[in-house]
């Protein structure tokens, strides 16, 4: 059993020599077992996929299929019980203690801080230079469409706007990997669609590698360069599908035949016809 979470030295990674650039994230046969009161519970098994640098990969599956668990393993918050987890390569080394940005279903803003200071939180934790970070935070608030809201308090913003702030917060320390766990799951359907388009734009502007977890199949197909399909009971990775849809992705690609074919395929994989 080989388990590494390294910063990507070529020797340690033991990459086979090929022409293709080494992946930014490499998962192979990743397994996670939770133990509770002597009971073992398999939360993730067989997770095997690669993510290239700058990809927006989506993870889709029913609740309980281990999506959040997989993100926590990638964030270094949980260990795993088998398989290989490797992030970074020699061209793009990955510092596990600083290169992670996270967005959750709830925006989880600090109620007592103004918006700009909320965005600053990761920079403070990492002890980054204040002046540059504040500049960056302002820039990111503009990127997520919230220029002018720097001095507001979270309660003055709608749910969708709060979630934009949390996206800016996830980017402020310029991490190489952004993990998003159902970030739009608590938003109403229209705001959610708008945020999907926004996220594609933010992703393209920032060039980040993003892992996006959702239980919305259409959302997964619309956003992802690849979709990883996970099933529950037993927790297993069912498939990895590369999404080839016309760019730029606008809402009308949802009416494309190819879009329908992808969603049908995923419904099928999840046992829903």
């Amino acid at each position: 059993m080989l388990t590494t979470l390294n910063t990507g030295s070529p020797i340690a990674s033991g990459q086979p020599v090929t022409d293709a650039p080494p992946p930014f994230i490499h998962l192979k046969g990743v397994r996670k077992v939770y133990r509770q009161r002597g009971q073992e519970f398999l939360a993730v098994s067989d997770a095997t996929f690669d993510v290239a640098e700058g990809e927006l990969i989506t993870l889709v599956g029913p609740s309980g299929c281990g999506k959040s668990t997989l993100l926590k393993i990638l964030a270094g918050l949980h260990g795993h019980d088998g398989g290989i987890v490797r992030i970074g390569n020699d061209r793009q080394p990955f510092d596990a203690g600083r290169d992670i940005g996270m967005v959750f279903q709830q925006a989880l803003l600090l109620k007592w801080r103004r918006i700009l200071d909320n965005v600053m939180l990761p920079a403070e934790i990492l002890g980054l230079p204040v002046k540059e970070s504040r500049e960056r935070a302002r820039h990111l608030l503009a990127l997520v469409g919230l220029a002018g809201f720097e001095d507001k308090f979270p309660y003055e913003l709608s749910g969708g706007m709060q979630q934009r702030v949390s996206i800016a917060r996830a980017l402020v320390h310029d991490p190489k990997l952004v993990l998003m766990d159902e970030p739009f799951g608590a938003l109403d359907a229209l705001t959610r669609e708008r945020m999907n388009i926004e996220l594609r734009r933010i992703w393209q502007d920032s060039g980040k590698t993003i892992l996006f977890v959702t239980h919305g199949i259409a959302e997964a197909v619309f956003l992802g360069t690849q979709v990883v399909v996970l099933t529950a009971r037993p927790a297993r990775m069912a498939a990895r599908i590369t999404i080839d849809l016309p760019e730029p992705r606008t809402l009308d690609i949802k009416t494309h035949d190819a879009f329908g074919a992808y969603t049908r395929e995923i419904y099928g994989l999840l046992g829903m016809h």
Binding site: K72, G76, M102, F104, L126, D151, H173, R194
Partner: protein, 270 residues
Amino acid sequence: MADTAQATPGTGNGEAPRLAMQLGRMGPAIGIHLALLALWYAVTAWGGIPRFILPSPVDTVATLLQPHYNWGMHIYITTIEVFGGFILASVFGVALAVVFSWWPVTGRTAMPLLVTLNMIPKVAMAPLLIVWLSYGIVPNIVIAFTICFFPIVITTARGLREVESDLVDLVRALRGSRKQIFTKIQLPSALPYIFSGMRVAAVLAVAGAVVGEFIGSERGLGYLMLQVQSSLDTPAMFMCLALISAIGIVLYGLVVFGERLFVVADARLD
């Protein structure tokens, strides 16, 4: 982005209309207090109730002008006891809850003991405290302290516990230290809880101090209350009650003021 259009930055209400609005909202509250005073006066003026049962508000206030009561000294003593017990309880209560949160094993061990000790009616402990600490303001401060301590520990501990685990994960993923988690997230998010515990304690502190004065004291409004009772001086008894309440109201007001200062409106617990 239509959802950004719901609020535009940089708008704020003028100060003057806000003050007027607040006064407007407080109008009914002030009104009902004045109405009660008026009713009190009316009953005493035309109700034919003997003065030693129910003195009029005028008689009550008039006692303030008689120097032999020595109001200033008694107010001073009771205030010291109430504020002293309350402040000590706030400082040690919050500190203990922080210890419990930092080393959970201490909380698991000591909390059940605290719950048991809290079952002892503090008021019933007063005679014993007076034996231990002798007469004077010290035992009364201690009684006020013991009565305030528990609600502050409980609410603070709860506030420190109810921190969003995803938020802690976010900080941990960046290798944030425990101290950073504590100072940047845990403690500020516990502040509303701390203030809500302090509001409860502010009311209890007054009761604690005055009971101490009833039982063994030579000074303070509780002591004075017993003194004037023996001569059926009801107006002075009413005045004692009014002043004791006033001390409680001032303390409570200060807590609320601190809460407004340090806790953003949206996060306050009611």
